[in-house]
Symmetry: C2
Subunit: 418 residues, 2 copies
Amino acid sequence: MRLKNEIEKISKEAKEASKVLAKSSTEIKNKALLSMSKELKQKSSTIIRENKKDLAHARKLKLSKAMIDRLTLDKERIKEMADSVKAVASLEDPCGAIDKMWKRPNGLVIGKMRVAIGVIGIIYESRPNVTADCASLCIKSGNAVILKGGSESINSNIAIYKILRNCLKNQGLPKEAIGMVASTDRKSVSCLLKMDEYLDLIIPRGGEGLIRMVAKESRIPVIKHYKGVCHVYVDREADIKKALNICINAKVQRPGVCNAMETLLVDKKIAKEFMPLVIGKLKAQGVEIRGCKATRALVKGIKLAKESDWYEEFLDLILAVRVVDGIDEAIAHIAEYGSNHSDTIVTEDFQRALKFLKEVDSSCVYSNASTRFTDGFQFGFGAEIGISTDKIHARGPMALEELTSYKYIVFGDGQIRK
Amino acid sequence: MRLKNEIEKISKEAKEASKVLAKSSTEIKNKALLSMSKELKQKSSTIIRENKKDLAHARKLKLSKAMIDRLTLDKERIKEMADSVKAVASLEDPCGAIDKMWKRPNGLVIGKMRVAIGVIGIIYESRPNVTADCASLCIKSGNAVILKGGSESINSNIAIYKILRNCLKNQGLPKEAIGMVASTDRKSVSCLLKMDEYLDLIIPRGGEGLIRMVAKESRIPVIKHYKGVCHVYVDREADIKKALNICINAKVQRPGVCNAMETLLVDKKIAKEFMPLVIGKLKAQGVEIRGCKATRALVKGIKLAKESDWYEEFLDLILAVRVVDGIDEAIAHIAEYGSNHSDTIVTEDFQRALKFLKEVDSSCVYSNASTRFTDGFQFGFGAEIGISTDKIHARGPMALEELTSYKYIVFGDGQIRK
């Protein structure tokens, strides 16, 4: 009951604060963001001191080296965090933008105006820089935010949060526009997800388990992606050099992220030539191959892929490889096993490229480019709050515009309905 | 269990069918819609025969005269229904439209393409024409639809549904793209709302009770409005004649709909002059006035408004009236008691009009026009599937574009991520 009251208080205060943020000028929001950037750098020793508590705790819990690395903050990383916040200040403010405007025969002029959504809840794991990244994007887009980070980074998160709130206050903005659920009680997430009276949107960032839990328990709309099972389909008309470059880049450049390739599909017409080349290069980069029967017939010493491998997001130097009968079987495979995230065709045949772009039902569909470009910065949005594979509200990389809604504003001169 | 299996079968079939619809051409979708329009007219005697069963049952249940009127179909009403379907065929197909396209410094060309959402569930009450209206809009926008109408109109709905499905089949489209939950078991709605594996969106249409139930039980995203507590604020700088016309129109022209005025707010600087005029005219039209103390001091013989009246959607010839201290108190009143639907300011002062348009957080905010214009047809969309007061996905009147999502299509020439 105490937990519920505490979270309700934070949520209610955020809702009130969101009304102020929604009508705040771009100038004042930017001033607050620039002072946040400055303060984060100036107070980096405080952040590092708190971060050390989290690291000591993490070592006691024997967390993995990768986990501890993600958790660690130093002067350089805090500078990067501060620079990100500064970059958000320089982005265009989506609020108040008129997407379109038209005139009706009766003289009414109707405009579609971008407005803030209200209160956004961010539920995330380990990396403490998410605290500053997400808070700055929500503030810039005129929203209040409630942050619920992982318990591993609780001391670092609180330190950052206190600095950010203080900067809001110093600019005359309500500090409650950045809220944090600091309780490490496991029930606190479930409790926050029931605050549909105050929160307008939840964006979970983390592993599939966390996201499934959030989607299942939330009474608030959730925008999310569960996983990224991304495909590269190498068509019979592919340019072999481009295909090799794209395959290596999509698999090897950063295998632990959601837009990395997990399954390679090769047109049987080109498989005999292409398969030994690509597998040779991938193996040289340390990639373990799990192939279909046809793949194994073409290249020796390959593990047989299990049915479950086609669904798998390996997030590692492992790749499932399959020979397909052509573009239709490739599209059918992606529809069956994919996660609607990012998929690419490599081909010089224009009609087949268009067919793939049209028929593959993923948030980002590519021709002749690496799936690794699915990212708010790479798309030119200047930021990223997450990636969605949903079809409601926002899809693909999400930045400031996706943190807004719209309203219709209507200019009349006494019109009444006939 | 049998109910669950049946609804799961309908949902699964609709999901499969949605994949075909999503890639169907505008031409074939329009052909199907035009044949539906024709068949509805040709088979009107069948529809009327089935409708008579519903009417007989309604009389047995002693449903109200208004309910029975809404339920009744005759040749004229079926013609109107058929004409609506024909009109949908003539609307522009949103699918495949590129909202924008841009080039990145590395040469990637990114386009934002409109695509169908998938399977839309429509849950509605009494009026059987909703069956044809919603089905035609979903088909035109490349979606499959599952219809769940009220039990009062079940025979009429089934008759219409059979005609529509047959037309899909005759054009080579999967008839399962129009599904119907025909069971009148009360559990069937709850069951449908759990089919989040197959359905992508739920749009409930009906009274507040139905919509609250749907929002509470659904595991599928719901787009909705609970009610329309719409305000007219008459500012001190109002043109009295425009203000009178707008007030009468917003309250009296069709009081039973969600965009009718429920509360009138009058600036105290103009109240002495305006209040007797507007109340006189409203009373002459049979409107019952419930006023605040200040209103009652200005006009004799008025009932005192209770606190609950400010929250009320009367849907009838009843109006709550309040004197406010000026625009800020008007905006605060709307924020406190409103339903974020449609609100209007009447003023000749440009700055105050802009302030109201900016600060009132409703889906449609007007200056100098009746709230009755919140409607897909009046906005020029050529259709309406519902009105949303949500901030996720769609807000205000919704038509074909709001029944779509988007995906990013990316044209590359071998680009890899650095």
